[in-house]
């Protein structure tokens, strides 16, 4: 399955993904209307600033192969699709115990203030490409299969290698 892969070296910290995410998960799905909505639409991707490196990294649900959040959820509000591996959250079942938040290794389970339930990435089921990926101006976020990403990286590495060899030949 495809997943949202992050290429941190490309992230400019513009937070476009965050806003696109919030808009996609709003009632209206429209930026200008979404900013006026109550309850406030909430993002599920977080651009984390790393002061030590003066860099930003977008963090979003990894849809782990063995997602700890689904294991600990006492009400099965969090469930993982056996085939697609997508971890979804059913807010009707959520009791707001935040055990998922506690065990999430990436800290990407948020809280919806008004409903007091968890919010997390659902890979935008109504879209071909998740909103955050589409919003990323530098392709720091890509929606791709892990295998393919490795392929892309190999190609990039090969290119560098080839350049290096040419440079040497010259």
């Amino acid at each position: 399955m495809k997943e949202v892969m992050v290429r941190p070296e490309r992230c400019m910290g513009c937070r476009s993904c965050e806003i696109a995410c919030a808009v996609e998960h709003s009632e209206s799905k429209d930026l200008f209307a979404a900013v006026m909505e109550k309850p406030t639409p909430q993002k599920r991707i977080y651009v984390e600033y790393v002061p030590e490196y003066n860099a930003a990294i977008p963090m979003t649900c990894r849809h782990c192969e063995e997602a700890p959040c689904t294991t600990v959820c006492p009400t099965k509000a969090l469930k993982q699709d056996e085939i697609t591996r997508v971890v979804t959250h059913n807010s009707d079942l959520c009791i707001g115990c935040w055990t998922c938040s506690m065990v999430c290794n990436y800290g990407v389970i948020g809280r919806q203030k008004e409903a007091r339930v968890a919010v997390k990435c659902n890979l935008c089921p109504n879209r071909d490409i998740p909103a955050c990926v589409e919003a990323c101006p530098t392709n720091a976020l890509v929606f791709i299969e892990v295998k393919k990403l490795a392929g892309v990286k190999r190609t990039e590495a090969a290119l560098k290698l080839a350049r290096g060899m040419q440079g040497k030949a010259l």
Binding site: I95, C97, G107, R116
Partner: protein
């Protein structure tokens, strides 16, 4: 929003200090440490759920979820134990007809279990802040890993 005691399971060393601190403060320990297959330890205490099932099932309206979190009125409690049955974490107990659960050591700045934790694994926080802390740490790790592939702290030749 209400706070709760959370654990960073990667730090817990299964020392049981939380239990004993709680027991000293509250007579009976309201936090319990479970060691799972000798691989990890998990302190379990009331999760301070925001849609608490114990309150949902309470027939006598002794348990209510209000602005300040779960409220318990022992006067109205009939001791029916439905709350104990409903609690998905097994952290509600009925002792002498009174429901007992972690109340974050009311009146104390920090719950005793959190204050005593030698490994700093327990923390008392609002749910919203947990993710942020974990994210910040994780992001730093990722960046660090990418920044220097030889992260073993290569010896500068001295």
């Amino acid at each position: 929003m209400p706070k709760a005691v959370y654990a960073d399971l990667s730090r817990c060393i299964a020392c049981h200090a939380c239990e004993l601190a709680c027991e000293r403060e509250n007579e009976n320990s309201r936090i319990s440490l479970q060691v799972v297959r000798d691989l990890a330890a998990v302190p379990v205490s009331c999760r301070q759920c925001e849609t608490p099932l114990c309150a949902v099932v309470c027939p006598g309206e002794a348990l209510n979820y209000g602005d300040s979190g779960l409220e318990y009125d022992s006067e109205k409690c009939t001791g029916c134990r439905l709350c104990v049955l409903a609690c998905p974490f097994g952290t509600a107990e009925l002792r002498a007809g009174v429901m007992e659960r972690c109340d974050l050591c009311q009146g104390k700045e920090t719950p005793a279990c959190v204050a005593t934790c030698p490994a700093g694994a327990l923390f008392c926080a609002e749910a919203e802040s947990i993710g942020g802390n974990i994210r910040a740490r994780r992001a730093e790790r990722i960046k660090k890993a990418l920044a220097s592939p030889a992260s073993a702290g290569r010896r500068v030749n001295r």
